[in-house]
């Protein structure tokens, strides 16, 4: 067999995720303690788990409607109305997807054809560019900077818009930087987009994890933006339901209608048990979510202080569960830093460069760990820095 001949060039050209590459290194070092996990350390709240058990006992194991259980779609729409004050029709403007990931995939596949450009603020999650490339589109990175708190600015956006621009990915709260876009920041972006034909895929999977008092704001709330926004979110992060694989996309009917066809042929319908559990998650787990957010917030402050104290400048992230300290003062590249840290001190963090070229000089640290785990790991990083001070 000549497998290479079988595989189209554009598939062969896709690079494995830089996160994945680092995972392979981490796996071969014994006794590693990790600060690299992008999922909650909490278990799914009991009310959601209990509902899943109930549903299994009742034998509700068939497919659901393609776009998901109507009851879940209604529940999601009620939630969005309360959370971001934006109304969607549960019949025609929501699809329940296999994680936020599938929603991202649907959005890009439904919109992009060869020649189209997709704007991707970086550093950001790793999937946007490869999916764009598979569709024959071009991902155009927009560099965000620490001095702007890694926010997307209107000026940077304007500079990259061309007649070919079709889609803007808006990944906030951001993985890996922890940056958030506040109302005024979004208003400035909306001002740039309102008179264009550009769609925003707003990846708000970390929306519940926004700190320092102000709640999350969605670009869909801004005047004139609902009609050009695909709001993507899910249950993985907020409800600690990563393994249930459930997310959703809400947006204007003409777009959702097209995306639903892709979803139907690829997925059929999202996992039924997960969908029932998700209804319980939204309806019964507010207190659990509140508790988790408070925990993350405490750890966030601990870790930010930890890095600043050891001399690695760390802007204060206001969302998600990552901090993104700058390691340029060590004279190492992100990859060098991470490899040395894992071999010498057995602590795994992810090089910022895995999230786009502009992540170089930074590392991503997750604080989805217990306080004791965090203090141990921070202690080792401190030792590491001291040992490398005079190198």
């Amino acid at each position: 067999m000549d497998y290479d001949k079988l595989i189209p060039q554009k598939i062969r050209d896709i690079q494995p995720s830089g996160i994945r590459k680092f995972f392979d290194i981490a796996q071969h070092v014994e006794g590693v303690i990790s600060l690299s996990v992008g999922e909650p350390d909490f278990k799914t709240p009991w009310a959601a788990r209990k509902e899943a058990i109930n549903i299994l006992e009742k034998g509700k194991t068939a497919y659901t409607a393609n776009s998901g259980l109507i009851k879940l779609r209604r529940t999601v729409c009620d939630y969005l109305k309360g959370f971001i004050h934006t109304e969607y029709d549960p019949e025609s403007e929501v699809i329940i997807t296999v994680g936020g990931s599938e929603a991202i995939d649907l959005a890009i596949r439904a919109l992009i054809e060869p020649g189209d450009e997709v704007l991707v603020p970086e550093p950001s999650f790793v999937c946007y560019s490869p999916i764009t490339a598979m569709m024959g589109g071009t991902a155009v990175p927009i560099v965000t900077r620490a001095e702007d708190k890694f926010k997307l600015t209107a000026a940077a956006l304007k500079e990259k818009i061309t007649p070919r621009t079709k889609l803007l990915i808006l990944p906030y709260p951001n993985n890996p930087t922890g940056a958030v876009m506040r109302r005024a920041d979004l208003e400035a972006i909306a001002e740039v987009l309102r008179d264009t034909n550009i769609v925003v895929a707003s990846d708000e999977i970390y929306a519940e994890m926004t700190y320092n008092g102000e709640k999350h704001v969605s670009i869909a709330e801004m005047d004139g933006m609902r009609e050009r926004t695909l709001l993507i979110s899910g249950f993985s992060k907020a409800y600690a339901m990563t393994g249930w694989r459930l997310g959703y996309v809400a947006g204007p009917q003409p777009l959702i209608k097209q995306m639903l066809k892709l979803h139907q042929y690829c997925i059929m319908s999202s996992p039924t048990v997960s969908q029932y559990a998700a209804i319980a998650a939204i309806k019964k787990c507010d207190d659990d979510v509140k508790h988790m957010i408070e925990e993350y917030d405490m750890r966030r402050r601990l870790v930010v202080k930890g890095f600043n104290d050891m001399g690695l400048e760390c802007f204060e992230p206001e969302g998600a569960f990552y901090v993104f300290p700058c390691i340029k003062s060590t004279g190492m590249t992100s990859e060098e830093f991470c490899e040395k840290l894992i071999y010498e001190k057995k602590v795994a963090v992810v090089p910022g460069s895995a999230f786009g070229a502009s992540g170089e000089g930074f590392v991503r640290v997750s604080y989805a760990y217990s306080v004791s785990h965090l203090t141990t790991a921070l202690g080792r990083i401190r030792e590491f820095l001291e040992e490398h001070k005079n190198c």
């Binding site: 995972f23 981490a26 996990v37 999922e39 795994a348």
Partner: protein, 161 residues
Amino acid sequence: MNTNKLLDLLRQNARLSDAELAAMLGESEDAVAKELKRLEDDGIIMGYSAIINEEKVDENGVTAIIELKITPVKDCGFDDLAHTIMEYEEVDSVFLLSGANDLSVTINGASLRNVALFVSERLAVLDGVLSTTTHFILRRYKEKGHIFNEDNFDDRGLVSP
């Protein structure tokens, strides 16, 4: 100051520095130090101790939980006897229980024999003790929220998106 949160953090890890506690609670280091002193002065925080996997320190050492049935005394109930027992140095903790038994006494001893002798010679003979039931701890799985296991309980991968 959120005192409940402060106490929660200390329950999990009493070695956090004032500075770390302050960062997590969004308070100043001074305010945390002051609050800790108040909690100590008021007898809310009684002390700070480590959670130790005793089996790894001394293979032969044993911990026993001894449940006692005792006769309550007019006016002071079970207090008198509880006070006598808690004065024994060997005794680690004493609790009054609801249910079938009255007192639960925890003892750390150098050996099974040691503990058995302590029960028969010091506890069982006390006036008012009707019966004793001794349970030896054979394995510790979890204590004060800490899981005693070599295996990593984190079933998440080392690195993920």
